[in-house]
Amino acid sequence: MAAIETEKLRREFKGGIVAVDGVDLSVEEGEVFGFLGPNGAGKTTTVRMLTTLLRPTSGRARVAGFDVAREQHAVRRSIGVALQEAGLDALASGRELLELQGRLFGMSAAEAKSRAVDLLELVGLTDAADRQVKTYSGGMKRRLDLASALVHGPRILFLDEPTEGLDPASRQAVWAEVQRLNRQMGMTVFLTTHYLEEADRLAGRLAIIDHGRIVAEGTPESLKAAIGSDVVTVAVNREGLEVARSLLANTDGLRDIQADDAGLTLFVENGTQAVAQVVRLLDSAGVPVGPVAVSRPSLDEVFLKATGSRLEGAESAVGGAQNGNR
C-alpha cells in the first residue's frame, strides 16, 4: 500500500487562482520523497491538503490509507508535520509544549511527560526544556518543532522546508535525524525543499512541481540520467545573452539550451568537445565570455530542464556554493 497517493488533486482559491492543478503522486511506505519547486509552485498547498489543513477543490488523496477529506481524524493520527514556519507557542516552555501536544493526541499525563523527556533528549534540548520558547534560537525552534511532530510516533512525517534558515551544523543535525527516522524506524518522509543538495542527499525519489503541475518525477539518479547529456555553463553578461544564444544554437551535439541571469546552460552530447567550440564561436563574434564549465547533470540542471528556470535560492545547503554536485 502506498503511504501517500493522490489522484488529480486540485486546489483553486478565490479569484480562480489554481495553486495545484491535477497532481498525481504515489509515495511508498518507508520512502523519503523530495518535493521540489519554486516559490508559488504549489508545494505548500499540496502539503496542506495532504495534512488535512486545506480541503482539495477536486481530486482525491489518501494518506496512510485514509482519505484526507473524509477521514481527517485518522490521517492526523498517522502523520507528523513540521511546517515551513515553526508553529510554536512562544510563551510555553519546550517541555510544556510537547506535553500538551502528547495529551492532545490522547496520551495520559504520565505518558506525555515521559515522551517529552525522551524527545527533548532526542533533539538535544534537555538543558533548555524549561525555558520559554521565545528565548530559543532559530535552530532550537526547528528542533523543537520536529520533536513536536514526532510526539505521537507517526508513520508518515511531512517536513516543509525543514532546514530553511538554519546554520550548516543545525542542518546536518536535522538531516541526520531524518535519515535515522527513516532507516531505523521505517518512517515515510515527505520533504519539501528548495535546497537541491538536501533533496539529492535525503530523497530516494523526488518530484518537481511547477505552476501546480508535476513536471518531473523519479529518483535523483534517473532524473539526471534522463537528461542524457553533459552540461556546459557559460557566464555571459545580460547584453550579450541573446547574441550568444543564437551563436551557440549551432554547437555540435546540442540537445537543449537555456538562458538565465547567470548566462547560458547547454545540454550537449560531449561536453569536453563542446567547450572549445563554444569559446571559439563567442570569441569570433566578440561576445565577452566569463567562466565556462563542463559537468555531469545535477539536480539543478534537472530542475532547469523541467521548469525552464533555475530554482530560486537553490544554493548548496551546506557551503553556499551554486550547487554541491558540480
Binding site: 493520527r77 511546517l83 507557542d89 492532545l104 493526541f105
Partner: protein, 270 residues
C-alpha cells in the same frame, strides 16, 4: 542526537462514543493553556482592570453629590454595573488566538485529533474565567470602598454570573474577528466598534432622563436591558421584570456572536 524513544503510538480508531469525552478533555487542556498564557501576559489584563475602576471612582467622585440631590440613594450600586461592563468586555478576547494564527501554532493545534470545536470552546472557557476574575476584582474594590449591595451574597453571585455571561457572549465577536482576519489590530478594534453601544444606554442616567433621540437608541439597544438587569441586583432587589430581559438579551447576543465565531472557524478550515 541521543536515542531513547519510547514511541508511544497514538490510539488508533477510537470508538465513536469516545468523541464527546475526548472533546471535553481537549477543551480542558486548551483552556488550561489559555489560563497559563493569561498569567504570563499580565499586560493584556491590567488595562481591563484599571479602566473600569478608574471610571467607577471618577464618576462617583464627580456626580455623587448631584445624584444624591436628585434623589438617587445608592449611586455606588447604580455605577457598579457600568464598571463591570467595562471590565468584562476589555478588548483581549481572541487576541491569543490571533497570536497563534500568526505564529502558525494554530495550524499545529489543527493537526492534532482535537476537535475543532474544542479549539474554540477551550479558548472561550478560559476567557470566561478570566472575565469572571476581572468582574470579581472590580466588585471587591467597590465593596471595599463602601458599596451597599442590595441583594446580598446571592445577588452578588448572580451579578457576577450575569456580567461574565455577557462578557462571554460579547467575546464571541472578538473570536469571530480573530478567526476571520487573523489580524491583531482588527481584533482589538472591536472595542471601538462597541463603544457607541455602551454609551447609548442608561449608563450615566436613567433612560427617562435622556434626550429623546438617545432614549429611542437606548430602548432598542440590548445593552440597556443588560445594564438594567444588573442594576436591579445591585440596587433594587430581585426584580424579575429587569433580570429576565437582561438574561434574554445576553442569550440573543451570545447566539449571534457564537454563530459568527463558529462560522468564522468553519471558513478558516475550508
Amino acid at each position: 542526537m541521543a536515542t531513547g524513544e519510547t514511541a508511544v503510538l497514538a490510539r488508533q480508531g477510537l470508538p465513536h462514543w469516545h468523541f464527546g469525552r475526548q472533546t471535553l478533555r481537549a477543551m480542558g487542556l486548551l483552556a488550561a493553556r489559555e489560563v497559563r498564557l493569561a498569567v504570563r501576559t499580565p499586560a493584556y489584563l491590567v488595562p481591563n482592570l484599571i479602566v473600569p475602576i478608574f471610571f467607577y471612582f471618577v464618576t462617583l467622585g464627580s456626580l455623587e453629590q448631584f445624584a444624591s440631590q436628585s434623589g438617587l440613594a445608592n449611586f455606588e450600586g447604580f455605577l457598579l454595573p457600568m464598571a463591570l461592563l467595562f471590565a468584562v468586555q476589555g478588548g483581549s478576547a481572541g487576541l491569543n488566538m490571533v497570536t497563534d494564527i500568526e505564529s502558525g501554532y494554530f495550524d499545529k493545534l489543527l493537526l492534532t485529533p482535537a476537535s475543532r470545536i474544542a479549539l474554540l470552546v477551550g479558548a472561550m472557557t478560559a476567557d470566561f474565567f478570566r472575565i469572571m476574575m476581572q468582574a470579581l476584582i472590580v466588585l471587591f474594590v467597590a465593596l471595599a470602598t463602601g458599596l451597599n449591595f442590595e441583594t446580598g451574597l446571592p445577588g452578588a453571585v448572580a451579578l457576577i454570573l450575569l456580567a461574565s455571561s455577557f462578557g462571554l457572549a460579547y467575546s464571541g465577536i472578538g473570536f469571530a474577528i480573530a478567526l476571520k482576519t487573523g489580524n491583531a489590530q482588527a481584533t482589538q478594534s472591536m472595542w471601538f466598534l462597541t463603544m457607541p453601544l455602551m454609551f447609548m444606554t442608561s449608563l450615566f442616567a436613567p433612560k427617562e432622563a435622556l434626550a429623546d433621540w438617545l432614549e429611542v437608541a437606548a430602548t432598542v439597544n440590548p445593552m440597556t436591558y443588560i445594564l438594567d438587569g444588573m442594576r436591579a441586583l445591585s440596587m433594587r432587589g430581585w426584580v424579575l421584570e429587569d433580570i429576565g430581559p437582561a438574561m434574554l438579551a445576553i442569550a440573543c447576543l451570545g447566539t449571534f456572536s457564537m454563530s459568527l465565531a463558529f462560522l468564522a472557524l468553519r471558513g478558516r478550515l475550508r
